[in-house]
């Protein structure tokens, strides 16, 4: 399948991609080391609510970055500030090195994909995608023939060419979002911003579209930021994850880095299920009540009161109660389906509410242990990540 763009003078990103034979990887930014998007010391308040608190971030060219955090953490506000749909109280936004803080949205040349698609409901799919081209000033506006060809190519790119004459209300959610993406790409944006792009879709479509977005990004290499509150989505799709909480950046890193080496208790807790052990650091152990748990990390410079974090798969269950290892707990429920089984346990220290724990073990190990509800066992962490306890 050959594609020609004889009539085009400007040769932008999308055209470069579309006009290349299939299978060729196009990397327009190859070798360019600069940062496509930088934000410096952004502050934004809504009344008394601090949405962004002195946020500074660099988004490298050609990467897909996820802004991840709970709702109300400021991630969408940051995205809208970058797009120009929201104004920061102070701070700067740089697009490809130039200060865009005072540039109007329509001159920033960004692509924006909304959570609820925001397709123009009275226009056909074709007209939706063509909109960005049709509203260009007369001297920049491509001819009708070029518009037709370009929109056709974009619809092929999102694999929905056969829907060109439909109206948005006749499409499924996933199709709508793909059209929204094609529409955003039509103006050859410098950066692509996606605000919870899969948030309104059901779980199955979401997973498909996630994979599809990753593939598309690998082909186009357009600098992209997408906002999500779903940690699995962020870890699976992005090159880099920026974790935000209460208007501040908690951690930046590759999905593997942030998952395996969470920098703060918040990140640890947000990126998956977690078990907490409150105690005191005593050498290589964390003393929790009478129990002593080996934390196995000599390099950790935490002393005094501390909180130990362990993921469910990092805990082992020992049925031999005479062992002095680990912490005593009582089995509440055993949930065994899939490749691994989950065991819910609780421990009573006689003072507070019972503490709850969750352990994940392989199926084989479960049948070996043969755990019964209300059985007393000992919990032994393989490793503990220690954080200093904040005195409230």
């Amino acid at each position: 399948m050959e594609r020609h763009f004889d009539g085009l003078s400007a040769n932008g990103l999308i055209q470069t991609f579309l006009s290349s034979p299939p299978g060729t990887e196009v990397n327009v930014f190859c070798g360019i080391e600069d940062m496509s998007i930088q934000v410096n010391n952004i502050n934004k308040r809504f009344g008394d609510f601090v949405a962004l608190d002195d946020v500074s971030l660099d988004f490298p060219s050609g990467e897909l970055t996820a802004l991840l955090g709970p709702s109300g953490c400021g991630k969408t506000t940051l995205l809208r500030v970058i797009a120009g749909l929201e104004w920061a109280d102070s701070g700067r936004v740089l697009l490809e090195g130039e200060d865009a803080s005072a540039t109007h949205v329509r001159e920033r040349n960004v692509g924006f994909v909304f959570q609820h698609y925001a397709l123009f409901r009275h226009m056909t799919v074709f007209e939706n995608v063509a909109f960005g081209l049709r509203v260009k000033p007369r001297r920049e506006r491509p001819s009708e023939a070029v518009i037709r060809r370009k929109v056709g190519d974009l619809l092929d790119l999102v694999q929905l060419g056969w829907l060109a004459d439909r109206f948005p209300s006749q499409l499924s959610g996933g199709q709508r979002q793909r059209i929204a993406l094609a529409r955003a790409l039509a103006v050859e944006p410098r950066v692509l911003l996606l605000d919870e792009p899969f948030g309104a879709l059901d779980a199955k479509v979401r997973k498909e579209l996630r994979r599809w977005l990753r593939r598309l990004h690998d082909e186009l290499h357009i600098t992209s930021i997408f906002v999500t509150h779903d940690q699995e989505e962020a870890l699976e799709v992005s090159d880099r994850v920026v974790l935000m909480n209460h208007g501040k950046v908690e951690q930046i890193g590759t999905p593997q880095e942030v998952y395996e080496h969470p920098a703060t208790p918040f990140v640890y807790g947000f990126l998956g299920a977690v078990n907490l052990f409150h105690g005191r650091v005593e050498g290589e152990h964390l003393a929790v009540g009478d129990a002593r748990l080996q934390h196995g990390d000599a390099a950790q410079a935490v002393s005094g009161d501390a909180v130990g974090f362990a993921r469910p798969h990092e805990l082992e269950i020992v049925t031999d109660l005479s062992s002095d290892e680990g912490l005593e707990a009582i089995v509440a429920r055993v949930l065994s389906f899939g490749a691994t089984a989950r065991i819910e346990l609780y421990a009573e220290n006689g003072i507070d509410e019972p503490l709850h724990y969750e352990v994940e073990l392989p199926r084989a190990r479960i049948s070996e242990l043969n755990l019964q509800p209300e059985q007393r066992v000992r919990l032994v962490p393989a490793k503990l990540k220690l954080f200093e306890r904040k005195t409230a």
């Binding site: 797009a83 749909l85 329509r106 123009f120 909109f131 260009k136 529409r183």
Partner: protein, 294 residues
Amino acid sequence: MAGTVAARWQGESLAERYESSTATREPALVKWSIIAVSLTFFAVFLLLPLAAVFTEALRKGWDVYFAALAEPDALSAVRLTLLAAAIAVPLNLVFGVAAAWAIAKFQFRGKQLLITLIDLPFSVSPVIAGLIYVLIFGLQGWCGPWLQEHDIKVLFAVPGIVLATIFVTFPFVARELIPLMEAQGKEEEEAAIVLGASGWLTFWHVTLPNIKWGLIYGVILCNARAMGEFGAVSVVSGHIRGLTNTLPLHVEILYNEYQFAAAFAVASLLALLALLTLAVKTFVEWQASRHFED
């Protein structure tokens, strides 16, 4: 088999399903008495007066009917009514769209006050609305002496009638559009602007098509009220025959002069206007719901 049943059920409306099931169906007595009450009410209070207007208008035959309409004073009243509506409706169209746009799409100080002000003509008696203009432009009013010095006539003249009509029909378009635009949100506009469209293009290609049917609906209601307004216009008009009488005022004058056939003939014009408005309104509602379902 199950599929066809499901399809049949989907095809039926909820009301039909309630009717066909003995579990949800009301006894026939209840059903028919409710229908009878509402039909009687409809006949006595709506259909009967409407019929009366046309019967009275034609009581002395078609010749009298057409003579009453062709009379110079009647024609002048028609012209003035059309003129007042032709000025008031477009102005309130522009104002209504602008106000609804501002209220539905932006946050600003004094927004609640603006909403209250838009509703003012609904809550104030039309007579008061007329009196406001008398207070401002009347001889003893604030601007009266200055206007007289410069020989500008507002009260008891066409400008006063137009002003009163604008005031009374102020809320119709805005009130129709605000909930519609609020429900639609501003994401589509934001999408258009991010794609590089100017404010004007965004309004023209995105906002306006989305509110088209609501806008037409508001304009129809606004027009019906502009042509039918009596109270406010009566206060500022001065009832000068052939000069400052609108159709409703002309009907009153004829009636007071015991020219019943002529009064009802002119009134029948207003009744026809109402029927036409209803027809257009029904058509617009049907169109709007069709577009909504799409």
